[in-house]
Subunit: 742 residues, 2 copies
Amino acid sequence: MSDQGATLTPSPAPPAPTGPRPKVTNRGRTTIPAASSNSDSTDVPEFEPFGVAGPRGYPPMTEYLDIWDVDMVRNREGSNKQQHHTDFYNSDALIVRRGQEFQIKIIFNRPYKPTEDKFALEFVIGSSPQYSKGTYIPVFPTQEQQSSWAGRIVNTSDNAVTMGITPIANCIVGKYQLYVAVMTPFGIRRTRRDDTRKLYILFNPWVAADDVYLDDEKERQECIMNEMGIIYHGSFDDVAERNWNYGQFNYGILDACLYILDRSEMPITNRGDPIKVTRKASAMLNSHDDEGVLVGNWSGDYTYGVAPTSWTGSTDILLTYASSKMPVCYSQCWVYAAVFNTFLRCLGIPARVVTNYFSAHDNDGNLKTDIILLEDGRIDRSNTKDSIWNYHCWNECYMSRPDLPAGFGGWQVVDATPQETSDGMYRCGPASVQAIKHGQICYPFDAAFVFAEVNSDVVFYSRKRDGTMVPVKVNQTHVGRMILTKAVGSMERRDITDNYKFPEGTKEERTVLEKAEEYGCKREKSEPPEADVDLVLPTLEATVGDDFTFELEFINRSNEGRVVEAYISGNVVYYTGVTSSEFLLRDSIVRIGPQKSVKTTVEIESKKYMKNLVEQANLHFIVSGKVKETGRIVTALKVVNLHNPKLTITVSDVGKVNEEMMAIVEFTNPFSFSLEDVYIRMEGPGVMQPKSKYYSLIPNGSSLTWTEFFTPHRAGTTRVIATLDCPALRQVHGQASLTIEP
Amino acid sequence: MSDQGATLTPSPAPPAPTGPRPKVTNRGRTTIPAASSNSDSTDVPEFEPFGVAGPRGYPPMTEYLDIWDVDMVRNREGSNKQQHHTDFYNSDALIVRRGQEFQIKIIFNRPYKPTEDKFALEFVIGSSPQYSKGTYIPVFPTQEQQSSWAGRIVNTSDNAVTMGITPIANCIVGKYQLYVAVMTPFGIRRTRRDDTRKLYILFNPWVAADDVYLDDEKERQECIMNEMGIIYHGSFDDVAERNWNYGQFNYGILDACLYILDRSEMPITNRGDPIKVTRKASAMLNSHDDEGVLVGNWSGDYTYGVAPTSWTGSTDILLTYASSKMPVCYSQCWVYAAVFNTFLRCLGIPARVVTNYFSAHDNDGNLKTDIILLEDGRIDRSNTKDSIWNYHCWNECYMSRPDLPAGFGGWQVVDATPQETSDGMYRCGPASVQAIKHGQICYPFDAAFVFAEVNSDVVFYSRKRDGTMVPVKVNQTHVGRMILTKAVGSMERRDITDNYKFPEGTKEERTVLEKAEEYGCKREKSEPPEADVDLVLPTLEATVGDDFTFELEFINRSNEGRVVEAYISGNVVYYTGVTSSEFLLRDSIVRIGPQKSVKTTVEIESKKYMKNLVEQANLHFIVSGKVKETGRIVTALKVVNLHNPKLTITVSDVGKVNEEMMAIVEFTNPFSFSLEDVYIRMEGPGVMQPKSKYYSLIPNGSSLTWTEFFTPHRAGTTRVIATLDCPALRQVHGQASLTIEP
């Protein structure tokens, strides 16, 4: 074929190269890797010549301005920190908020001459700073020359110039390095890099131009400035509280929060956008995929870490993550939400933790949770695989939503708890609460998912012998029964169910559900005929270890006699609604006269449930049965939260800043068995760093007393909070209020 | 404090446990792990009793129906495969499409008695099958009893019954196991698990009830049935083609596609939803995060894998991934898009590959690509960090969008190429093309991102000495210059730019950009005054190794003389627009009379660029300068694709199914240097499996001839395609058309 040489013959292919495969580089793909770490930085040159030097080099530049010192005006009583609401941060660095002026004082070698001298403050963040990316911002003192950040001279005296700088209200949030540059005819002369000249710029809910602007000082005080948290759990008719120290101002927390973003490799240029920051953080707070902050564990075995119920605040978790650079063990939903809340408040995004009672989790945005019954009305355990969480905690954060049509700004749901069985959702939100309320679930991010968590129906199916299933009852009010958050400025709770849903049974509610269905949320449409017998279960409170009586009431609404064959199943459940074990199964035939009601009682003996109890001590009763005359199905569900013994904390009511105080924690083992491997943890916002004590054994009936001294470092009303935790007994709390005077 | 015993003292905390941390289980978190593998399956019991057996066990069940055999009616000429458009699949199993009836024949031990005998076909997918989740579906022969899948008896003869089964049009897509169950008074008796009784159910674009319904037979033939692909590259004014064998019907490909979903751990229950399947697959086609199919590499060093330009089709890639269970090396955008296309067509989702010329990639949904110039008009290389891809390939797939308001169904963009420098976007889409065209970019998924890829402005900044930058020119027409896909039913190209954008300069276009801005897409708003001198660069075609002349024309539109000081920079670039090296930098002072034009030429010598050429042989010319009289900036950009030598393939024009044919590949090394480590690859849809040959050396001027025999296995017009690849020369193609007669 060629006239230049013989035709070639192929060779056997060479063996595949051995040894580790080299790391693929970004060569050919991008000019430079995107800056994605707030710890990296490039050194800016100290001298940047304008042209080639003459044969004798540059002349001595003694006649030009020289910088002797830069004062970051960061002292605690200085104007910057107070005006920027950052004086609580336990940090030596200057911390300010964007969109608002702060001051920096420069001391020159001689008085500044406005007509002759040209200088600029240069703010630099990340590697490869660039003006058009907002990572390099020069700030000029004169009206004629201004960059995207406003600059002005506030004051001049002797050799000192005080500059006022206003970072643009959408600037990148994080840690900046400050340089002072002086322009000479030969080039730009700069201060050397100096780590004391760093400053942190945060989101600013006090400024209308910021996307996180929140127009209510009391709300800002609660959702940015408050370290003391209350997170609700238990059940809607027996609400319980956890106290939590968010600790967003504690030493090292701000750096830990920035480390989380660095660890996520989030490009620096995106870090001014609260939508992107909160979405990224919802992924990074859990360890799935990305070696994020917290490892989830719902198994009851926490040998290799701290039990989720044992934490008292976020400080230990965030500092451990930032120092070990490894995910921290262990977390459940409220721990994710609490640490996320610290992150958000620390960076200046208004945030709160909310609790949704009966949360239809993990069902991938469908509006159905299935409970399968056998033909005789008993629950079919082997086929019932969905579960409804007794409660689920997530966060709301406040921001405008320029990416959506008008009306969807305000509170947004973000959720860092990984959704194990859904389609790999290890991030959730921000989803507009307004969009959820109005069924506008087509808007990002994950609104349909949250909508299902508060609006799913519980569908009872009867499973026939041939494997098919017929819906026999649809309960539309069980899921999303109540949504709570801590009230602004008080220790009370606030019911915000109305923010998420129109009242059950209203026309608006129906319209919203129809709207959601248009966007593909599938519901069970059949309306199985209702039984004419109602079943009412009691509200009851009991303490772990008590025997108690469980009373069922059957109400016959018909004009004929009814016989109900009912099955009562008592189960120990996790707070996720997952059954650990069934400790009671009784059947009962109840005869009810026309328009009459009949009560029947079941005695619950503690010995039956105690040996199987799991950490949050929840008992779940499912009563189901069949009306003999009509074949209709009767069902009812009830969660009973057994109350745990308490820790007692005693503190003097009133203390003074910087004066030592004492807290006494006491506990008596009320059980007939010993407690082993017991940890007690204690801390208090503004008064006490996290502390812990370990007791290898607390014999039954015996008591412990732990006395701890502490020195409050700021004034105000606060709490000291403590937990006790051991494998045999979890979720034991105590707290004491105190007021610190200045 | 206790009167029952002495107060306890704390112990030192025990040492942290050593050894590896145990794997966290889902205990307490979920009842069962979600079924997420189509390879797992539970054995369904052979006998499922209805009650407890009597003291003598169960009576002999000879009087009830027994199953002798099940015929899956899977023979090639059988009605199922042809009517379901699945006869091209090279598979022994039955493959059907949902929403459409298929037939299965059951042979009993005796004739079926409709009034007495009760049986059902049971279709089971994944572990823990459940009727309410759509993973267990019994199908009944009688009108009175029907499940979500319709069943009927089509034919009865002797002991055989032919059942017609219509899977519901939104059923799960994947591999099902079939059982036949007979109901006896004592329980359900089933056939034993038998791997020959598996069947695959696919998406069905032929059926209106399916979300992927496409109402055009020609389009369906192209976007589902065609294995022969043409993928466009080069530049908009010099379009080049790659031939590609999608190979969606090749042996093992369907199983490989299901393996991809299994590997992603996508819950089985989501696999009927084309939105979720395509979104998940866009993440899984790249290896980022999830050990997905293809490893991206743009570096030019492909030592440890196959160069992206060397692949001829998807078959090798998918089969390697499924057998090695490791990501395959290496890929660039068209490889991702081509393999994704195979995946989509194989599962029955209408799909095509599109090419966007000048694609503003990696800019995170902003509408700006920055080019920085020095004050004298030269490009400032160290500060220009954005790049525009010469072209970028993605996929479109066709489906309705029930999750969005009406009007956004139809073609959807999905993109599997990882967006390296954007905010960790390793999945993209589905984004409605209609939403992109109308600026409705608030709808999921990632519409804003794709909008920016086709609509960004190129902004030229002049960088001042103090570091600030002033926009001097905004080019609104460069990016998204043309969008191409293969035409339906021909080998021609089809310009679909109109699907994405209103024509430049129209009122609609302006409205759309304003709408997009409302949703937070930031544009450069300044309108720097235009220079009155235009600069026109030539369209030219050149072959690798050629010297050629580059001609610039300056047009003075003013009534005065103009002097332009212009800088011409010639660069070798990757197709990602990233510069590898600058081989030419010239300045030129051009004087132009009023209303006159002046041409100036630059000679390009091959020796200047040859030694630095990177794989796709693109030269990028940037001409920029300043008009002396006005200070205005003049700029122009030009990509020149040097053409490579060709492979020659010779095949007889006409062949016959199952008759051997011959293909001859020839290549002569036209360069002055030898080529080393040369791979040649060849394959052809429906006629030839992938083959390759290795030549350790092709001396300059010498030729090779490779003769390969092959046997076409189906009729039609098709191509044989081949590539040649070695480190010194990439992207050498050849193809030959042929028609196979039945």
